[in-house]
């Protein structure tokens, strides 16, 4: 049971990331690869503030969200001048910068040695030490993020985002300030990724820069592409699928000499098949 609870917690963290990333990529059509950076900033804010400064989880998480908000607002302003592939490249650049800072700013982040002993959240004296209670808390945030996604999707703000996704020139001609919209959704998405990072740091209790590389950002992008762009449900399904599939492969009973290598081959082949048969993702409403 403990195993499934732990898978559940990771699912919640990935679902938060997928929902937040799908707001930028799915609703707005902006191919962002910067998500690993915001995930990392959120995680490190909690790790540093809780272990070195005596903050509680919530205070540290709020600082992480604020930090992400400021970073994303500034970067978002720069990014909003780019489109398509260029947007993806510049956003990937941010991921590389943040990873390098986490790796090299040793006095603050402890570099490759990582930070350990990160605490769990508490509310009114109740500590979320048990995996089940931590899962319940993380799930609550997934529900909140899901509701926020649906709310934005159906709002005039969401319609404006989808309009700029379909035709930015037309949207501008209708009087919408598209740079403002792009910057806003990018900032909101980064703040949400920071929350996911906070939960990850607290759950795993040890973080190092390897969890926040550009490759992670591409993995998050794969989750929403498989699940379906512009779909809240697709985001959650994508996160669940990409998390459970490699776990399920552990149970295939492959010979142990080659099990690890075969698992990765099968996983890759399944992703290829999935994209070949269903390029728009399982519940996608839009294709990049």
């Amino acid at each position: 049971m403990e195993y499934f609870i732990n898978i559940g917690i990771l699912f919640c963290i990935y679902a938060m990331l997928a929902l937040s990333l799908n707001m930028v990529v799915g609703l707005s059509g902006l191919v962002s690869l910067a998500h690993a950076a915001f995930y990392g900033i959120g995680a490190y804010a909690v790790a540093i503030l809780m272990t070195a400064q005596g903050f509680n989880f919530w205070g540290a998480m709020c600082v992480g969200m604020l930090l992400n908000g400021i970073t994303a607002f500034i970067v978002g302003k720069i990014l909003s001048k780019f489109k398509g592939d260029y947007y993806a490249i510049v956003s990937a650049g941010l991921s590389v910068i943040v990873f390098s800072v986490l790796l090299n700013f040793k006095s603050l982040t402890k570099g490759p040695l990582g930070i350990y002993g990160i605490g769990k959240p508490a509310i009114a004296g109740f500590h979320f030490y048990s995996s089940a209670s931590f899962l319940a808390l993380a799930f609550l945030f997934v529900v909140l993020f899901y509701a926020l996604f649906v709310l934005i999707d159906k709002s005039s703000f969401g319609r404006a985002l989808k309009s700029l996704r379909e035709d930015e020139v037309l949207t501008v001609s209708l009087g919408y300030k598209t740079t403002k919209y792009k910057s806003l959704i990018f900032t909101l998405s980064a703040i949400m990724a920071g929350v996911a990072g906070s939960f990850f740091a607290s759950y795993i209790a040890f973080i190092d820069p390897t969890s926040f590389q550009l490759a992670e950002g591409i993995f998050f992008f794969t989750m929403i592409t498989v699940g379906g762009l512009s779909s809240a449900f697709g985001s959650v399904v994508g996160a669940a699928l990409l998390l459970t599939l490699p776990e399920a492969l552990r149970f295939l009973g492959l010979p142990y000499e080659t099990a690890a290598q075969l698992q990765q081959l099968i996983y890759g082949a399944l992703l290829v098949l999935m994209m070949a048969f269903r390029p728009q993702g399982l519940f996608g409403k839009f294709r990049v």
């Binding site: 990771l10 990850f200 795993i204 390897t210 399920a248 690890a260 048969f277």
Partner: protein, 360 residues
Amino acid sequence: MKKLILILGCVLALAACDNKKEETQEKPVVKIGAILPLTGGGAVLGASLKAGTLAAIEDKEKKNLKYHYEAIFEDNQQQPAKSATAANKLIASDKVNVLLTFTTGSGRVIAPIAQNAGLLNLVATLEDENAEPMGQTTFWQGPTLQSYQRILINALKKRGVKKLALLAAHVGVACAGTEHLTKLLAKKGMDVQVECFNPSDRDFRLPIQKYVKEGYEYFYLQFFPPQTDIVVRQLYEQNILPQHIFGSGIDTGADISLFENINHVGGNSGTPEFIDRLMNEYHIDNVYMAASAYDLVSLAVDAFENAEDIKNIDEITAYIKEHATRKCLSGECKLFPNGFIANEAEWRTYINGKPIPLKE
């Protein structure tokens, strides 16, 4: 869509099938769950630790034991975060009695999981002997950072090295340990230049050329694969002789033939017979930390054999605390109060593909 659901369904159904072999053993089974880097750049190290684990079980099973011992291997792709799900799977599904992993990062991720489950957690790693404990049920074994540095400084002093370019990777203690090492070398009158590289860096030619131009004849390397092999190849390209290359972690490289005559400090690799056995029976070229894995698994087996109740973690850890300081395959092992079992580091080289200790 239907085809896709069918394919995914097949995979999940296959996974759901009971793959567990029928227990033919009469003896109760003690399962050792090993979480190692079995794919990616660190796979060569994972293979070495796997061989050490299997060799220890094989040797112990030759005796008349109370239990049958079985190892189950899971891949963590050398990422500490991936170790958590692997550990939870091993605990919940395979019902392992012991966890074994590699690197301090993975050890620290698994330590609280093992402690909550009341399981022994063993970690093969190079560490600072004063590092913070990982938890009440975690023991880690490897050479100490301090012994590495002591051996290295003595060896460099004997060779009359005056100018040294220290190249390291930003991985684990490789680069993090250079600061202290540089101070120690400077105290001995050595001019040391340090440069740390990101794990994704592959081209070291320009920095090598720069140091050669500045009169640095000797190079000291602290890398992990695949960087170890790459940097050594690029040093050879610049006509640097193996006798002018030193390192720690050289023995983590994948192509051992590259490291002939390079002097390096490393964890004790065990006896020549043990090395031969790993290379011939387990078909591995690299024996990095295999002896540490062997020692840890052997100690765990002894603890289980001597326990009245193998589920009683206090009894198991008490045995380990009492017996960890001993003569190990990897030299004299000494238990520190933080749970670190230090073994001996050694200064050695490779001759005909085998690690040969050097008497300094």
